[in-house]
Amino acid sequence: MCDTCGCNVTPGNRHLAYKPVNGGTSAVSVLKKLLAHNDDQAAHNRAHFDTRSILTINLMSSPGSGKTALLEATIDALRDEFRLAVIEGDLETENDAARIRARGVPAYQITTGSACHLDAHMVHEALHHLDLSAVDILFVENVGNLVCPASFDLGQHRNVTLLSVTEGDDKPAKYPVMFRAADAVVLSKIDLLPVLDDFDPARAEQCLRQLASTVPLLPLSARKGQGMTAWYDWLRSELAAQRARVSAGQTVKPYIQPDGARLHAEVG
C-alpha cells in the first residue's frame, strides 16, 4: 500500500532549531512537540486516507459505552449507501472485530496487549491489512479509556466521543482533555434514561459547553434505534465535507487541542 508514499521515512531528519553555547556544556532550545514522531506518522496516515477520499473517524469512550454497538447499528443502516471498514483496538481479544465481520464489513483487530491507547504507528500497520481502495468511511474504535487516546493523533479526520447515560453526567468535567478533543459527542444508551434518575442530559451538555466546546451532542440508543437519524446525517455531512476538502486539495485534523498550538505558533 505504501509503494509510493515513502512510508518508512522517519522524522529523524526534521530540522530542530538549536543554539549551541561555547564550552563543555551547551544549552539547546528546541520547542518541539513531545509527540512529534507520532504526529508525523499521523499526517502520513491522513495522506493515505485523503488520496482515496476516505473519511476516517476515531471513536473513543470509557470501556463498554457502546462503541461497537453503535458501529453494528451503523453498518446495518448504511451498508448499502457507503462502503465501510473498521479498525478495532482492544486489549486482548478479537471479539469486536468478529462482531463487525459477522455483518459483512471488513475489520482488522489491533490487539494492543497492555497498551491503553492506539497510536499512529499501530494504525498504519493495520492499514496494510485492509483494502482501502474500496472504502468510503473508515472507523477506528479506540481502546476503551477516557484518558490516553485523546493524546495520540492517528491520522483520523474526526473524533467522536461517546458518553453513556450509565456513566454519570459530569464525565466531561472529569475528563476535559478527552471531551475537548471531540468533534461530536454521542450520548449513548438513552433507552436507559427512564431507569436512571440521576443522569440529566442537560447537565451533561452544560459540562461539555463549559469546556468551550460547540460541537453537536447526539443523544441516541443503538439498541432501540432512537436518535440514529441525526448520527447518520452527521456522518453523511462529514463525508460530503471530506470529499469537498479532497477536491480542493485540503485536509483536516480533528479537534485535538489545536487552538493553543495555532495561537502560539509553535514549531514541530
Binding site: S29, V30, H37, H117
Partner: protein
C-alpha cells in the same frame, strides 16, 4: 498510563538532539506542560528513569515548567485565566472561547555536556 509512551518519545528526541550536537551527556531537560496537555507531570517524572535508562539522558534532571491556562473570548475579546473544566470567559462568562495557552506538551530546551 500513556506517560511511559510519552517519555519514550521524549527520550528518542533528546538522544537524537544530543547526537546532532555531539554531546555525551544530557544534564537538564526542560519541558513545557499545560494542564490540558493530557499528561500528568508527576507520572511523567516517575516514568522518566525507566525510559532514559542506558541512554545519554539516563542521569538528566527533568524540569517541568507548568504553563498557565488562558482563554481568549470570541464574544467580548477579553483574555482571562481559566481552569481545565471551566474554560469560560472570565469577564462575560461565554463559552465561545479559544485556548491561548495551557495545552502545551513541548520539549523546550536541553543542557548538554559535550
Amino acid at each position: 498510563m500513556h506517560e511511559l509512551s510519552v517519555c519514550q518519545a521524549l527520550v528518542n528526541q533528546v538522544v537524537e538532539i544530543a547526537q546532532q550536537n555531539s554531546a555525551h551527556t544530557v544534564r537538564v531537560i526542560t519541558l513545557h506542560i499545560g494542564p490540558l496537555s493530557g499528561v500528568e507531570p508527576a507520572l511523567l517524572v516517575s516514568a522518566f528513569p525507566l525510559a532514559a535508562a542506558g541512554t545519554v539522558a539516563a542521569s538528566a534532571q527533568l524540569v517541568i515548567e507548568p504553563q498557565p491556562l488562558r482563554v481568549h473570548c470570541q464574544t467580548c475579546g477579553a483574555d482571562t485565566e481559566a481552569t481545565p473544566n471551566r474554560l469560560l470567559c472570565g469577564i462575560c462568562g461565554d463559552y465561545h472561547t479559544q485556548l491561548l495557552s495551557g495545552d502545551e506538551l513541548l520539549l523546550a530546551n536541553l543542557e548538554l555536556i559535550t
